[in-house]
């Protein structure tokens, strides 16, 4: 329970703002931004998108992550069989009920077969809006995949301009890259703090902030993160509890409901790393600011992209990156939390499990849909998992890696 005054009150206020944005599937803040700026707003599906490019052309990139548990699906279900994941049906529902009318278009990155086909459905259903499929290379050589991605970015840029966005200018893109780099630093500093002192940065709060960043312009989002960071520093009330430190993985596209994240925490887990709202972290570290900015975007995609089930990993062992993340976060276990019917996440899982077993990292796994409302079973499962870590892990090693 938050106290009404003091630092916790300030934190509560900031988190409250973020939660309001998260729950507003009608995108009121985007409407307000458009009214204020007279510019375009374009939605994008998870996972990766060159937000810098949109920003440089005066376009607000708006992350669309389905309807979560806030939305009653009436029409969307009529478009999808029961064995298709949930995010496309709630996204379509929002399109059909007018929630996304404020958007001038949608971008569908090459994530999986479902999102790919959704791009065509969008074309058919909303013929007057921009529907852009962003094909990204799975070849990561500069002269091959890099060339292809560079052209794809220019195609996107032209498509935005044709809809009324400012034409591409290198100088603007350079500025936008700098702004997003600053934003990435803020995000990373919160992730760092959570790794060190997870009781100070509950994942349910961090998640809401990241979701708020899906609908805010980058300048406002960076400020929100900074305000949150300051409020955290001033806070003296949050105390460490004896919780198990876990990495949650598999939710890079469809997102678990907020209640599920809270349930994981209440069941005795500190989430010290995750892949929620991955667009904020799909590029490792800053993008170069000195080079030709378009080249810099391409280079970042090729060389700085995080391992993910939707990125082909030619060399090395699948799952070793997860082990590295576990070590780096000082985690004691892994929770596989994939959306039902998510082929990329679920096909990755057995490979990752094999590597975890080899490394002696305990894990547990379950599936969710973004509109799940019952968490008792998950709470029991992860609670038992956390207890088993606390009871059976070598106590001497339990917190050693974290510091």
């Amino acid at each position: 329970m938050r106290s009404p005054a003091g630092p916790e009150g300030e934190l509560g206020k900031i988190v409250g703002i973020a939660e309001k944005l998260y729950r507003d599937t009608a995108l009121g803040s985007v409407r307000e931004w458009k009214g204020r700026t007279g510019s375009l707003a374009v939605g994008f599906m998870p996972v990766y998108i060159p937000r810098e490019l949109l920003h440089a052309q005066g376009v607000l990139p708006v992350g669309i992550m389905g309807g979560g548990d806030n939305l009653e699906i009436i029409r969307g279900d009529a478009y999808y069989q029961s064995y298709i994941c949930h995010i496309p049906r709630s996204t379509l529902e929002m399109g059909l009920d007018g929630s996304l009318d404020v958007l001038d278009g949608m971008i569908f990155p090459a994530t999986c077969d479902v999102i790919r086909n959704l791009s065509g459905m969008w074309k058919l259903q909303f013929p007057h809006k921009l529907s852009f499929y962003l094909d990204v290379p799975q070849d990561f050589d500069r002269g091959i995949g890099g060339e292809f991605y560079g052209r794809a970015l220019m195609d996107l840029s032209r498509a935005l301009t044709a809809r009324g966005a400012r034409p591409y200018e290198a100088a603007s893109l350079r500025k936008s890259i700098a702004l997003y780099n600053a934003n990435r630093m803020q995000v990373e500093s919160l992730f760092d703090l959570r790794r060190r002192e997870p009781w100070k940065v509950p994942t349910s709060e961090l998640y809401l902030l990241l979701r708020a960043g899906q609908v805010l312009c980058v300048e406002d989002f960076t400020k929100l993160l900074a305000d949150y960071g300051e409020a955290l520093e001033a806070d003296t009330t949050r105390r460490m509890m004896d919780q198990a430190r876990v990495v949650v993985t598999g939710s890079f596209c469809e997102q678990p409901p907020l209640g599920l994240i809270r349930t994981l925490e209440r069941s005795g887990c500190y989430i010290v790393d995750d892949d929620f709202v991955q667009v904020h972290r799909w590029i490792r570290g800053p993008i170069r600011e000195t080079a030709d900015p378009l080249d810099a975007l391409v280079e970042a995609f090729l060389d700085q992209g995080v391992d993910s089930p939707i990125r082909f990993i030619a060399g090395g062992e699948k799952g070793s990156e997860l082990v590295r993340r576990v070590r780096c976060a000082g985690a004691e276990g892994v929770v596989f939390c994939a959306a039902s019917f998510c082929d990329p996440a679920l096909l990755d899982q057995p490979m990752a499990i094999k590597v975890l077993e080899k490394a002696g990292v305990p894990y547990t796994a379950f599936k969710f849909a973004e509109n799940n409302g019952q968490f008792q079973v998950i709470r029991e499962q992860t609670g038992t998992f956390a207890d088993s870590i606390k009871l059976w892990s070598d106590e001497g090693n339990r917190h050693a890696d974290a510091h």
Binding site: S119, D139, L346, K367
Partner: protein, 435 residues
């Protein structure tokens, strides 16, 4: 005015095997036998996929293609897929994911015995030709961990706007030149021989001409072929290991002659239970067939005199009826175009256009979708496709659900009920048209 049909009249007559069927059976068996002999003969192979496969290129290096999808469907037809899927699920693979993948893994873990009862060779190369389906990428990531062999990856851009652009072509050709061909050279120990590839591409084009003639024969009334169930057999050689070979040219010439003769005699298609003598319904079908109960599934149609006159499944390994032919004068570019042109690499609007055109061109009674649980590439969006095609053609759509190779998702009673309802709907539409 349509002739009223007696619904009680039998639709199927006696069983007969045609020369092309026997010939194909022999070709496929010989291929598997040759694969089984690889460890002894020293021949090398590459595991790859059907859509957008590079058979001519592989064969120009004397590499033999192995197609895990085909192995999976063959396992299903032999009644082995349930057991194989169980093996994969026991290893931790989710019940939610592609059953082709699980069936293939289960087969591999159970000794990798192919359809002829002989052990398939381990791959010398995993050629990940990434056309039309993201799951292929995951599939080979999994296999990569099982086999210690190189992986060559060809990423094929999606035709999101219904066109192949010069940039897309350049990207694929660059990968062929700089990644795929060097990998094939390294595995085979042979140099790339473009003249040899050209010869093979010319043979492909000849076979493709005859395949299109066979598929288009269904415009005739009655259709001499079933372009879905029968079509599966017709596409067998050209979509798998035989494109670019003289055997494929001979096979398709023979098949075409047989089909033209049936057309001349006004005969219906051949099924495993006999020929369909009374064509009562002409359908266009979208989606792959079910393989675990393939024959039972086909019989449900044949017994009702329902003939499939066009299908999209027969375009997964290439859409030739819009005019594409492998072009020996531009070998790598034509391979790129081929990869990008396969059916599941087309956007939803392109698929709607194609299906609407089929319904009209083949004068079908309507579109039937067989939605496959474990194939998002096909299935996500099919309900919208159905509605759009109904809207554009004014002909009714039907919808059934099954799976590729998981027998747990084939409910014969349910499918039969839905089919009967669909056929009744078509009948009623006809009655209204008559009166």
């Amino acid at each position: 005015m349509p002739t009223p049909i007696d619904p009680k009249a039998p639709a199927v007559s006696a069983v007969c095997k045609e020369d092309s069927q026997l010939r194909q059976k022999r070709m496929i068996a010989e291929h598997y036998h040759r694969l089984a002999g690889c460890p002894g003969s020293g021949e090398k192979n590459a595991y790859t996929f059907v859509p957008g496969n590079l058979t001519e290129l592989l064969r120009s290096f004397d590499l033999l293609p192995v197609l895990p999808e085909i192995n999976a469907l063959q396992s299903a037809m032999r009644g082995k897929s349930r057991e194989y899927i169980a093996v994969a699920e026991k290893l931790g693979h989710s019940e939610d994911v592609c059953t082709y993948v699980k069936c293939d893994l289960g087969m591999m873990k159970s000794g990798n015995v192919g359809p002829t009862g002989e052990r398939l060779p381990d791959p010398d190369l995993l050629l990940l030709s990434y056309t039309g389906c993201f799951t292929f990428m995951k599939w080979f990531e999994i296999l990569k961990e099982e086999y210690s062999c190189p992986v060559a990856m060809l990423h094929v851009p999606y035709q999101a706007d219904g066109v192949v652009t010069e940039e897309m072509r350049r990207y694929v050709v660059a990968q062929l030149k700089e990644k795929i061909i060097p990998a094939l050279e390294s595995v085979s120990g042979r140099r790339y021989d473009e003249d040899r590839l050209r010869e093979m591409l010319a043979l492909s084009a000849r076979a493709e001409d005859d395949l299109v003639a066979v598929l288009e024969s269904a415009k005739h009334r009655p259709s001499p072929i079933d372009a879905y169930f029968g079509g599966v057999y017709y596409i067998g050689p050209i979509f798998t290991a035989f494109r670019g070979t003289p055997e494929a040219v001979d096979y398709y010439r023979t098949l075409r002659e047989e089909v033209e003769e049936r057309k001349r005699l006004n005969l219906g298609p051949v099924t495993p239970d006999g020929a369909v003598d009374r064509e009562r319904f002409r359908l266009v079908v979208e989606g792959p067939p079910n393989w675990t109960s393939f024959r039972e599934f086909w019989k449900m149609f044949a017994d009702e005199g329902a003939v499939v006159v066009a299908s999209t499944y027969t375009k997964v390994g290439g859409v030739y009826d819009t005019g594409f032919r492998h072009d020996p004068s531009r070998p790598l570019e034509t391979l790129a175009d081929y990869c990008m042109g396969c059916y599941t690499n087309l956007s939803l609007p392109s698929r709607v256009d194609m299906l609407s055109r089929y319904v009209k061109d083949y004068d079908a009674d309507g579109l039937l979708v067989n939605s496959i649980k474990s194939c998002n590439s096909f299935s996500a969006g099919q309900l919208m496709i159905l509605r759009e095609v109904e809207k554009r053609t004014g002909r009714p759509g039907g919808f059934i659900e099954s799976d590729l190779v998981d027998p747990r998702y084939f409910s014969a009673a349910n499918i039969k009920n839905r089919l009967e309802s669909y056929f009744q709907m078509i009948e009623q539409k006809r009655m209204h048209a008559v009166h």
